[in-house]
Amino acid sequence: MGPLPELLAIDGVTVVVVAWLGLGLAGLAALHDTRVVGRVLFPLSALASLALAGFALMGLPGAPQVAVLAIGLPDLPFHLRLDALSAFFLALLGLASAGISVFAGGYFRQGEGTPPGLLCLHYHLFLAGMAMVMLADDAYAFMVTWEVMALASFFLVTTNHRIAEIRRAGFLYLLVAHVGAIAILLCFGVLQAGTGDYTFANMRAQSLSPFWASCAFGLALLGFGAKAGILPLHVWLPEAHPAAPSPVSALMSGVMLKTAVYGLVRVSFDLLGTPAWWWGVVALVVGLATAFFGVVFAAAQVDMKRLLAYSSIENVGLIVVGLGLAMVFAAYRMDALAALALAASLYHCLNHALFKSLLFLGTGCVLHATQERSLGRLGGLLRFMPWVGWTALAGVMAAAGLPPSNGFVSEWLLLQGFLFTGGLPNPYLRMLVPVFAAGVVLVAALAAYVMVKFYGVIFLGRPREEKLAHAHDAGGLERLGLAWLTAGCVLLGLFPVAVIEVIDPITFSLVGRGLAQSGHIGDWLLLAPVSAERASYSPLTFLVVTALIVVATIVLVRRFYHGRVRRAAPWDCGFPAQTARMQDTAEGFGQPIRQIFEPFYRMRRELPSPFDAAPRYRVEIEDPAWSAIYLRIAAATEAVSRAVGRLQRGRISIYLLYSFVTLVALLFLTQA
């Protein structure tokens, strides 16, 4: 093939972005027409997403492609570049948003606050913004599209803007997003090293002193960390995710957090060149703390979307841990292991995009069917909503990191990376890094606890409210979206070697080594990243053998014995008067975790006394970051503004005096 298909990929991506913008504007034309927006525009958008994924995967293995768009300021056009890293994240965007958009077509109805057409515009601006962030090749284009993304998602979060709480969540989100954006802007300022040229190509060419490089890394960690939800900048996440409509939560949690990961990888591995080893340690510590915090708080949540939001914090933490490990290895030029850790991290990005979207969409269906977000009023929905229930099971297994799902593969790769640190030259690191593996394992095991709580309380047991018996299952388009994401989770879990071959060009370009290129990735069936003697895993064999044993057992038991079943009342140790209220509530299920990790929580408990006629048990859990950091900052800000407010006197002559003093001071300074 000639040069033509090489050009196609980046052009194709640009065309998809334009198509999204067009769909958004079309939504504006059909402002109040739910049918057109839902049945036509969103499915078309899903097709565009698929095309995007296709173009990105096509462009991934090839050489980087560049383009210059004529929009932007005079003499400051948008530079675009599609290399392996951006192609991978674009593919992630395409694959996840295809499912989410189809689902959204069936999900959005009249009366969500914002008219459906306007929602459609915001949604597509958001998609286009994310795609352009990944394509941007200069700081200007990056910041503009980053802001488009942030603003569009702000409007999406505040779709139900008539509710005060949601407006508050949206404001918090906007605030943190802009604090982050400032840090990113400063980071780019450091990266261009005084040359005044803000293209990424120039930044790549600069070699910064260790001090400035570390400054840039710190700013990037702060800025992108604010978007990704890294401790302690995570506070917006558990507020914004429950506030947004479910497809938007899915998109934000599944994809938008990954744009931040993309930015972090771009800056620390690509623009800054080789990372310093202690950046890796910082990332490891921060990532592990974030992951641990996220999962411990997820265990205590009673709102299903908040629970998932905290679980997203946990997953971002794990991704950052992987990046940190890759940085440590890359700094010591242990390229094969750096490639392993980086691949694990990127793999987890993809997995999290799919399973978290799936789970958020599932909660959306539950929310529409029952009008309930609180776990304490749900239960038994697997019977009434089998589609949602069984697809959510796939997501739950992935989120719990259990084989043969996709979540397990990335955790497996990450742990492999931790286990082969014997060659690190720094003795402290050689001994401490495997201890981090213990932390990662603990987080993974807690995630399983959280997911059993999530699934068991929503979908299993008996309905805790009467009305749940009338819950309706997902509609056609919604089912299609759920099925797409489920298929993605399953396939990514079963064919890890194919996925790693896709990731390979990225690790090759960033740390100089691919996993498959070293020749021992294993064949399509067997994943063996280092060598088959050291470690191997074959999810397909795993699944097939398990399924074979299940089928054989069923057949043999029926053949030799019988298959009779009798229905009766539950046994429950012969306890006669059982009600659905006697099941574990979400609080009850999380209680052991609350007790074990008590020092981490800020809890307010109301315990009923034995003589209460109507006993009530209430526990409120507050994020410790609020009182430890945010409220103090708020208090300090208020104090400063009060001090500054004294300047305001209300008399014109005093204001003139200020101007006069300033003028004189400036004149004096210029003279000196």
Binding site: R383, V396, V435, G456, R567, P570, F589
Partner: protein, 315 residues
């Protein structure tokens, strides 16, 4: 996969399926002797299984398919675990499909399904059991992984077969890291297999039980499968422990003479292991449920220390 490998694999499965109830029977026999009771016959678990398989299965109203599929999944997971752990020979064609981490994942899958099934009926005891099972699991799982990681670091492989043959081949040496790991492993397997001091397999006192609460609603063939799976789990744990800490007698690849000796060696090691388990169960008392996290946290810490001691002393 060659024919010999496939036969070896099937042999391992057969040994596990038949040996697991016998091991459970042996442990309860030892327990009875130690407690001055008359012991049930060794094949008692088989009779119980046979009886349960003949009985009809009573399923609660409103049970979802999750409830009925779970016993089969749990049973399959445990059977697969027995096929991965090298007990007679390290020449297992299935072994590359799942290494030590995947083995822990496999137990995790079984735990997920058994807990979800317990929550499915919506009884108070079911969800109590599920909660406690996950409580045990979230600490036992990392502790078990730390044990396996220590063995993996010593043999620089997470593949169980490679680890076991590497451990069997090194010259005799006292490794403090393995001693710690062994202690941690003992604690974890007591907890994971619902044994005293964490849980009592013979209890029917509702408020103290963990494993029994999980399978409270099961009857007939479903209960039989769950019980069989539980004994398979004990068998898999015992074999894994014996293979890592006492790896002698396990046949290497294509060593037919050794394979003949492997079975008696395994039986002898399991008999001793079962007696030790019965002894532990007899001399210890069951602890309060809220002491369990401390017990398991100690196991986790021991595992981490084992890892650390290995890294520090290189032994």
């Amino acid at each position: 996969m060659n024919l010999e490998g496939a036969l070896g694999q099937l042999l391992a499965l057969a040994v596990a399926l038949l040996g697991a109830p016998l091991l459970s029977g042996w442990v309860s026999q030892c327990r009875a002797w130690l407690q001055n009771r008359r012991a049930p016959p060794l094949a008692m678990p088989f009779r119980t299984l046979h009886k349960l398989f003949w009985k009809e299965s009573v399923v609660a109203h409103g049970a979802s398919p999750m409830f009925r599929i779970a016993p089969y999944v749990v049973f399959a997971c445990m059977a697969l675990a027995c096929m991965i752990v090298p007990m007679l020979s390290t020449n297992l064609p299935l072994a590359p499909a799942a290494d030590a981490i995947a083995l822990v994942g496999l137990f995790g899958v079984a735990r997920l399904f058994i807990s979800l099934a317990a929550m499915d009926i919506g009884t108070a005891f079911g969800s109590l059991g599920a909660r406690r099972e996950m409580l045990v699991g979230f600490l036992a799982e990392p502790a078990f992984l730390m044990v396996l990681f220590t063995a993996s670091l010593i043999s620089s492989s997470t593949s169980l077969a490679t680890t076991v043959s590497a451990l069997a081949h090194r010259e005799f040496a006292i490794l403090p890291s393995l001693a710690f790991a062994g202690l941690a492993f003992t604690m974890v397997s007591l907890a994971e297999n619902a044994r005293v001091p964490v849980d009592n397999p013979a209890t029917h006192l509702e408020l103290t039980m963990i494993h029994e609460a999980l399978i409270l609603e099961y009857s007939g063939r479903h209960l039989a499968l769950m019980e069989w799976a539980a004994s398979l789990k004990l068998f898999a744990y015992s074999c894994a422990g014996l293979a890592i800490f006492f790896p002698w007698g396990i046949a290497e690849a294509r060593d037919h003479a050794a394979l003949l000796w492997a079975l008696p060696a395994l039986v002898a090691k399991l008999a001793v292991g079962g007696f030790v388990l019965a002894l532990i169960e007899t001399i210890l008392a069951k602890m309060r449920v809220f002491r369990v996290p401390e017990f398991l946290a100690a196991a986790f810490l021991l595992g981490v220390l084992a890892l650390l001691v290995h890294l520090l002393l290189g032994a």
